[in-house]
């Protein structure tokens, strides 16, 4: 099952997704990580610029990644009760 890496930016708390060489605010920019994931997490954790680093299980769908857990979908989309905060590309019915 694919895994992507997410975390929160230290300065702003923004939810970020690892694109392979940088961080993006958009879930669908994330890359699936293989065996290199754990070493990457260890390196980023030590740098202490991104908090709450975690590898998220996702499924590939025709509209992009879908995290397996409700929690990670809420994290990607925003509060389910504030559809006005969600991005058009990732509305609350993606939760």
């Amino acid at each position: 099952m694919p895994r992507v890496l997410t975390g929160n930016r230290l300065e702003t708390g923004d939810v970020l997704w690892w694109t392979g060489n940088d961080w993006s605010l958009h879930l669908n920019d994330a890359v699936a990580l293989g065996d290199e994931a754990e070493a990457l997490v260890a390196r980023l954790t030590a740098a202490e610029r991104i908090n709450d680093l975690v590898l998220v299980d996702v499924d590939a769908t025709d509209t992009g990644w879908r995290p397996r857990s409700t929690r990670e979908r809420v994290r990607a989309v925003g509060p389910s009760v504030r559809p006005d905060f969600a991005l058009p590309s990732l509305p609350v019915d993606a939760i």
């Binding site: 702003t12 923004d14 202490e48 857990s69 509060p79 389910s80």
Partner: protein, 543 residues
């Protein structure tokens, strides 16, 4: 209400600069995240699912119009135009940036507000009765005693690294609107035979993984011994509270393990050592604070009769106002629970309106209740209609206080990293479903928590709902029979859990069962449950 003097202001200002310095050092990687996290928690800054969350302290739930306007300004300037009032009478902003928080705290300090110790393993906001100073049944306004304790507990060097968080509530009447039996320390103002005000001291209550009701450890504590006695309780806890298991670290576990009598004996022994140290503030200091809570000048000849010919207004008066100790006046509750809305949330515009109304009609004072509503404590009855019309215009006139749609819900999985399930959507669905019949149902307190930390106070709900994680899916446990009032009891699980649709159906079945079994329409669901037991409800829900 309390006004800062130069000393209070100096302490707040220094704390803001200290946090600014700590944030800068963290952003420069001069402090590790591990070292920084307790520092930011001690300033109420959490990292949640989407962003940082800041919990602003509203001491004993009291604020002025000026302070409310600043909270609205902060919502617009630093957040997304709204805020959430919490079950501990505080306020939460959900979309904070760490790098902006020092400026935000400076803005708060400019109106005598702060976020001290609203998180972390330290003494938290001292909560109190939202009707303090206005209710007819209080011995005395409990808030000066809460303020004295707030100062004593702020940046206390011995008690800033406790085993776990510490929550204190103070009330001034037998009617318990502060849930003192469910706090780490609960304090009730009482009089001795000589008529002197003192405290009844309870310790060891709390919800969460191991819900317990507090025990009285001192029937009467004289005011002269107030702070030293609190020091003794905290010292026994700091020294002997468990630190090996986060779920066993509250003082309630220590009280339960030692037994209340032994715990009380240890406190008394410690207090005997601490009393001679001069830790207690002099009577003059308490008198100074009490004087700041002098009741506003209210006209006791204000007319009591008002025109109730508008049915909607009459209903709102009946449901959302309480008698004031001064004739011709009323205590108004502003519901933040319009069915279908997010419980406890207010927009910046609503907050500004409430500030205006407080200034104009309520002696410039607003209260936050631990049921996530707001109170205007000193309103002339003659002004109620105009006030109500203004509230109607802003969606703030729902007449549902303590009724089925007046649901307490924590932020839950929509916001919180600790949550297992979402609570707000459940509250919204239930409120919409039950509102049409809520007048018939009478007093019905539904409380929803998204995880075992119980910020939604589900153990104290007549109907309590606990969100859990069941194999990766959201699931909801149904509990019945809790109360956070003076008749305190802990709700009990009725049976197996439900999914998000099932829990709504289950609650409806509970309500139908209540209607079938109540001895008369005036009997509350809680009382029907206490009278008939769980079995009929279990049968009704699980068939």
């Amino acid at each position: 209400m309390y006004k800062y003097d130069e000393y209070d202001q100096a302490i707040v200002d220094a704390r803001v600069e200290e946090f600014r310095d700590q944030v800068q050092r963290r952003l420069n990687n001069e402090i590790s995240e591990d070292a920084f996290k307790p520092l930011r928690l001690m300033n109420g800054l959490y990292l949640q699912l989407h962003a940082y969350m800041l919990r602003v302290a509203i001491p004993y739930g009291t604020l002025s119009a000026r302070q409310m306007r600043m909270l609205a300004h902060i919502a617009r300037r630093y957040d997304r135009g709204y805020a959430h009032f919490t079950t501990r009478q505080n306020l939460q902003y959900n979309w904070m940036k760490l790098e902006e928080t020092p400026d935000l705290l400076a803005d708060l300090a400019s109106v005598e507000m702060h976020a001290f110790q609203t998180s972390g393993n330290c003494i938290r906001n001292i909560s109190s009765d939202q009707f303090a100073g206005a209710a007819a049944d209080e011995i005395a306004d409990p808030r000066p005693y809460a303020e004295l304790l707030r100062q004593w507990s702020t940046l206390h060097p011995e008690f800033s690294f406790l085993p776990r968080k510490f929550k204190i509530a103070v009330t001034g009447s037998d009617t318990d609107r502060a849930a003192i039996q469910l706090h780490d320390i609960g304090l009730q103002l009482i009089r001795n035979d000589a008529g002197e005000i003192g405290m009844k001291v309870l310790v060891g209550g709390g919800m969460g993984r191991t819900p317990l009701l507090a025990h009285v450890i001192r029937d009467y504590l004289p005011m002269a011994d107030y702070l030293s006695y609190m020091e003794a309780i905290l010292r026994v806890y700091n020294r002997h509270g468990r630190r090996d298991n986060i779920y066993k670290a509250r003082i309630k576990i220590l009280v339960n393990d030692l037994g209340p009598a032994e715990f009380a004996a240890q406190v008394e022994a410690e207090w005997a050592q601490m009393k001679p140290l001069g830790l207690d503030a002099p009577a003059a200091e308490l008198a100074r604070i009490v004087a700041q809570f002098a009741p506003p000048a209210l006209d006791a000849d204000a007319p009591a009769d008002i025109d109730l010919s508008d049915a909607g207004f009459a209903n709102w008066v009946a449901v959302n106002t309480h008698p004031h100790k001064v004739p011709g006046h009323a205590i108004v509750t502003i519901s933040l629970k319009a069915p279908g809305e997010i419980p406890g949330d207010a927009s910046a515009d609503q907050m500004d309106l409430i500030a205006d109304l407080a200034e104009q009609y309520a002696g410039d004072e607003i209260r936050v209740t631990h049921a996530q509503n707001l109170v205007l404590p000193h309103v002339r009855r003659a002004d109620l209609f105009t006030l109500w019309q203004a509230l109607v215009g802003a969606g703030l006139a729902t007449a549902n206080l303590d009724r089925a749609s007046d649901i307490i819900a924590c932020p839950g999985l929509d916001y919180c990293t600790l949550a297992n399930a979402r609570s707000i959507p459940i509250a919204q669905k239930l409120a919409v479903k039950l509102a049409p019949q809520e007048a018939d149902l009478g007093e019905l307190k539904i409380k929803i928590s998204g995880c075992i930390n119980a910020c939604g106070h589900h153990h104290a709900g007549h109907i309590g709902i606990l969100g859990v994680d069941r194999k990766g899916d959201e699931n909801y446990q149904l509990l019945l029979g809790g109360s956070g009032a003076e008749d305190a009891s802990l709700a009990k699980i009725l049976g197996p859990g439900f999914d998000e649709d099932g829990i709504v159906v289950a609650v409806e079945k509970v309500v139908d069962c209540y209607k079938a079994l109540r001895s008369d329409p005036a009997e509350r669901l809680l009382d029907t449950y206490r009278r008939v037991g769980a079995a009929p409800f279990k049968e009704a829900v699980y068939g």
